[in-house]
Amino acid sequence: MTTSPSGAQTAVRTSAPAARATDLTKVYGQGETQVVALDAVSVEFHRAEFTAIMGPSGSGKSTLMHCMAGLDSVSSGSARIGDIELTSLNDKKLTKLRRDKIGFIFQAFNLLPTLNALENITLPMDIAGRKPDAKWLETVVETVGLSGRLKHRPNQLSGGQQQRVAVARALAGRPEIMFADEPTGNLDSRSGAEVLGFLRNSVRELGQTVVMVTHDPVAASYADRVVFLADGRIVDEMRQPTAEAVLDRMKRFDAKGRTS
């Protein structure tokens, strides 16, 4: 990542983090069948930074994202978006928070087949009953390169295009933070690269904050920072990752898994 304008980044990083977990613990089940998915995780996600969460399956990376995004409840500890403590919010307030401050990108695109591309993009604002900011919307649509396809329905779009609609939907509300759950999992490598490029651009050019869960080292190499999770704990962190470096780090998990 030699091309990154590192000066601008450091300036922003000094301000308060966009999201922060402190001693975040998530336990599933009870007694004998108890599974600790997250074991007192503390981590910060900085503004205008692209963070990837990696780890072997079962490491708790998805759980961490779900808890941080207000999709799942927390057993103990704290999860904050900006200065809002998620654990103190009821379902209604959490829903409102997700709607107004968080953007989502899913592996399965999750677009509504009955709405066209533009309607899907503005869906979060329609839910909130807000008018989209036309100028911003235009910028977003241009960024993801969907200008000619706004009237198409999802089934008239390719997988890559559908995921670009999903990226635009996440961006359209100018969220404080965007969470992406394996966004390239269902895409071929070219479309995947495109989508990852857009995510990176949205951070570099639009100043957005992105947290992405992935198990693909290539996808992780688009991030500014990679956080490694294993057995519900943060075990490592890498800045300015390259695919090779991430792959090497992941191999050590595999080796450890095999030897232990």
């Binding site: 779900h66 995004a69 999709l71 799942d72 379902d91 209604k92 829903t95 409102k96 997700r98 709607r99 107004d100 968080i102 989502f104 899913f106 592996q107 399965a108 999750n110 509504l112 087949p113 009955t114 709405l115 869906l123 979060p124 329609d126 839910i127 909130a128 009953g129 939907r169 394996e182 999992g185 269902n186």
Partner: protein, 841 residues
């Protein structure tokens, strides 16, 4: 294959629940009807047979027919005939009876049981001084003119005790009788909830026949004499105006009449059960279609590993069989409960059903099970065929291969043709059967077209839904997402509402037409007549005299009916007060005038046409007493239900009548209609409970009441179809929610709260229900109109009256159905686990 099918049923228990419920309701309706009708008719048969045990041969008057008949000849049986019958060889005992109407006033002066089945008869003591038909439970039999005995139930109902004075009315003035005895009886009328008052024979004869005359003579055979032998002996001494019937034949005839009556009721109820089942078919077909769509991969896999198409279809049908059998058995049980409940309900409403065991015949059991299983399998057949068409390769596709949405072009073309043909036939129909055929075709055509209609009609609701923001928008789009499913769901509701609306339109229009007939031609303020079944007896002429004498009465006229021979036929003449007739009626005269004096007659134009009379024609009549007269036609008018036929002045007919009876008396008063006037009229007539004094409003209300009662019964029966339709909506929504788990999860994730999700599901339900409602009400109005065109022929004042209020209520009802049906699916959708829903599969 059977095991797979069974596993499938068990795996989809919850989803099949609604299907089972829908079939269950239909089957319960069918078996309930069968159990109820056979129980009731069995009970009636037994009780009626008991009622005839005391009669071996009955002698009844025989009315001559055709040319032999003389005007006014109402034969009765003489005391002499009774005495002769008693001496016939083989006759053990003889009793003579007289019967007619006897209205009994309750403590408030109102007619008990509103005058239905209110009978009066005589106590005929035999050689032991007792009448075996009426064993006295307390007190003694009536012996003198001022005495009466009542049946146990009537005495209980009126709260009468021995020694009480009972106010009653036969036709003339009020009778005040002392209650001397309370008896029990097997009499069929009483068993069916009627009342029976017994007088001593002489009093009864004075009231109903003439002294020394009976209306029936019952003969009991001596031991060893057969009914037929006794009948043969009696036939020898019969006068020509009497006939004999054996007790067995009487019982058989009654049994047959009861069987006929209950079979009519059964047919009507089964028709409604059929409608409910028909509606159920849509739900079953919908459910199986969806179950199969969800199992596409699984079924394709079975095909891939070697199952034949036939085996796939069979497995679906076996599944349907199991569902149908479960529904059939539970439905039968529910139906038995309904049958028992209906009887209890009927007993509570006053119509009394004789006691008897609950009859569950083998045919009831077989019918119920067969209906449940066949209906379910029939409905699952098409989805089963579709399942067989799933290509084995569908198992290999990673993407969930939803059946390609087949074009609706073929379907729409067929529907269009059917609907057009049906509509054309309905509009141009010349007969009822053509109308029925047209209506059927149109209904089927609209069914087939509902997917097409769903888009524009639901789109029309968009402005309303916009109020609900994104939830409304998504609801609208979800509703048209699967037009076939939406159509099937809405159709189920449509059928019920079409019938309900159609019936309401027809009933309302008919009611207003009859109302117009009855009251438009009336200028009188009040019409006085006998209440209930006493109407057949007529009023005594005293009533008219008393009313005419009142100072506030400005004009009055009886309608006095008498038979006369006109030309070669017997025809009835109506005697009126010629000088006041014009003040009391508002008839439209085609020609001539409403003035009526002396030997003049005015006729309605129908009758005139039948006889070929014109203004000025002269008509020869022969009266009851054999005297002849000649009348001149001086006016022709448009007839109506109340006033029609040949009207003449009373001075012409009354002298020839042996017994004067007035069907009605029309009264005009100084101050018009008012409570005070009505009270003074009532008082003048001695507070007679059997005489009703009605103003135009009362007459309209009485007509409306009858029609409303009928409508309410039909509504209750059609409610079943609506309930089944509700289950259908629930089913469809539950399936939709299940299918859209992922979408709903995503919506929750990106910020639609639970309320919004619930609202979305509810609005979808509302849109589908209202769609069905609008279609149903529209079709109902059309059918109501078309049926009205047929009715118009027989009812000149018929005009289409659109019951806007009720139609509004029906639309609201459709909306309510939607809201109710969405309760559970909406809750489920809102509680769905977001995380598992958005997880990629």
């Amino acid at each position: 294959m059977f095991r797979t099918a069974l596993r499938n049923v068990l795996a989809h228990k919850a989803r099949l629940l609604m299907t089972v419920l829908a079939v269950l309701l239909g089957v319960a309706f069918v078996s309930g009807t069968l159990v109820f009708t056979s129980t009731v008719s069995d009970a009636y048969q037994k009780s009626s047979q008991k009622g005839f045990t005391g009669i071996d041969v009955a002698i009844t008057p025989h009315r001559a027919k055709g040319e032999d008949r003389q005007p006014g000849d109402i034969p009765n049986l003489s005391q002499a005939l009774l005495d002769k019958a008693a001496k016939v060889p083989g006759a053990a005992s003889v009793s003579g009876s007289v019967h007619g109407f006897a209205g009994i006033a309750d403590k408030d002066g109102k007619l008990l049981g509103e005058g239905f089945n209110s009978t009066g008869s005589n106590y005929y003591p035999g050689s032991n001084g007792q009448d075996a038909r009426y064993p006295m439970k307390s007190g003694r039999a009536p012996r003198a003119p001022g005495e009466v005995a009542l049946d146990q139930r009537t005495a209980d109902r009126g709260g009468f005790k021995l020694g009480d004075t009972i106010r009653m009315s036969v036709s003339g003035p009020v009778l005040s009788q002392k209650l001397t005895g309370i008896f029990t009886t097997d009499d069929g009328n009483v068993a069916a909830g009627g009342s029976l008052a017994l007088f001593d024979t002489r009093t009864a004869q004075q009231l109903y026949t003439k002294p020394g005359e009976f209306s029936e003579i019952d003969v009991k055979a001596a031991p060893g004499t057969s009914q037929d032998a006794l009948k043969a002996e009696l036939d020898k001494l019969l006068p020509k105006d009497a006939q004999t019937t054996t007790g067995k034949k009487l019982a058989d005839d009654q049994a047959k009449a009861i069987a006929d009556g209950s079979s009519t009721m059964r047919t009507v109820m089964l028709v409604f059960a059929g409608i409910a089942l028909f509606v159920g078919i849509f739900i079953i077909a919908n459910t199986f279609t969806m179950l199969i769509a969800q199992r596409t991969k699984e079924l394709a896999l079975m095909r891939a590993v070697g199952a034949s198409r036939r085996q796939i279809t069979r497995s679906v049908l076996i599944e349907a069989f199991v569902v149908g059998a479960v529904a059939g058995v539970t439905g039968l049980l529910a139906g038995i409960g309904i049958g028992a409940g209906l009887r209890a309900l009927l007993n509570n409403t006053g119509a009394v059903v004789p006691d008897g065991p609950l009859v569950i015949s083998p045919s009831t059991v077989v019918t119920s099970l067969a209906v449940g299983i066949l209906v379910t399998m029939l409905a699952a057949w098409l989805p089963g065929r579709r399942a067989a068409k799933i290509p084995p390769v569908a198992a290999m596709n990673s993407v969930h291969a939803v059946a390609t949405t087949r074009s609706l072009v073929v379907r729409n073309s067929i529907g269009g043709v059917l609907a057009a043909a049906g509509a054309a036939l309905t509009i141009t129909a010349g007969s009822k059967s053509m109308l029925g055929l047209g209506a059927g075709l149109l209904l089927i055509g609209v069914f087939v077209l509902t997917p097409l209609l769903s888009r524009p009609l639901i789109a029309a609701a968009a402005p309303l839904l916009r109020v609900f923001g994104i939830s409304g928008k998504l609801a609208r789009q979800n509703a048209v997402r699967n037009p076939r499913r939406t159509a099937a769901t809405a159709s189920a509701l449509m059928i019920g509402l079409t019938l309900i609306t159609g019936l309401t339109v027809i009933a309302g229009s008919v009611q207003s037409a009859i109302d117009k007939l009855a009251t438009d031609a009336l200028r009188a303020d009040y019409v006085v007549s006998m209440a209930g079944e006493g109407g057949g007896m007529g009023l005594s002429p005293e009533v008219d005299k008393k009313l005419a004498a009142l100072p506030e009465v400005t004009a009055s006229s009886p309608l006095r009916s008498t038979e006369a021979r006109v030309g070669s036929d017997l025809h009835s003449l109506t005697g009126v007060n010629g000088d006041s007739f014009a003040k009391l009626t508002k008839l439209h005269f085609v020609s001539g005038s409403d003035q009526l004096t002396g030997r003049q007659a005015i006729v309605d134009d129908h009758t005139a046409k039948d006889f070929g009379w014109k203004l000025g024609s002269s008509v020869n009549v022969t009266f009851q007493d054999g005297k002849r007269d000649k009348l001149t036609i001086t006016g022709l008018f448009d007839g109506n239900r109340m006033i029609r036929g040949i009207m003449v002045d009373n001075s012409v007919v009354t002298p020839h009548m042996s017994e004067v009876r007035d069907m009605q008396v029309m009264v005009k008063t100084k101050s018009g209609t008012s409570e005070a006037t009505k009270r003074s009229l009532t008082k003048a007539l001695g507070d007679n409970p059997a005489i009703q004094i009605q103003d135009k409003n009362d007459i309209s209300n009485a007509i409306a009441q009858g029609i409303n009662l009928l409508l309410n019964v039909l509504y209750a029966l059609l409610a079943m179809a609506v309930i089944v339709a509700v289950l259908g909506v629930v089913n469809t929504l539950a399936m939709s929610v299940f299918e859209r788990q992922q979408e709903i999860g995503m919506l929750r994730a990106i910020g639609l709260d639970r309320k919004g999700i619930k609202r979305m599901v509810r609005l979808e339900s509302l849109v589908i229900s209202l769609f069905g409602g609008v279609l149903g009400i529209g079709l109902g109005v059309f059918f109501g109109w078309a049926a009205g065109e047929q009715i118009k022929g027989g009812l000149a004042t018929y005009e289409l009256v659109l019951p806007w209020g009720r139609m509004g209520i029906f639309l609201l009802l459709a909306g309510l159905v939607g809201m109710l049906a969405a309760l559970w699916p909406a809750r489920r959708a809102a509680r769905m686990n977001m995380l598992s829903a958005i997880k990629a599969d």
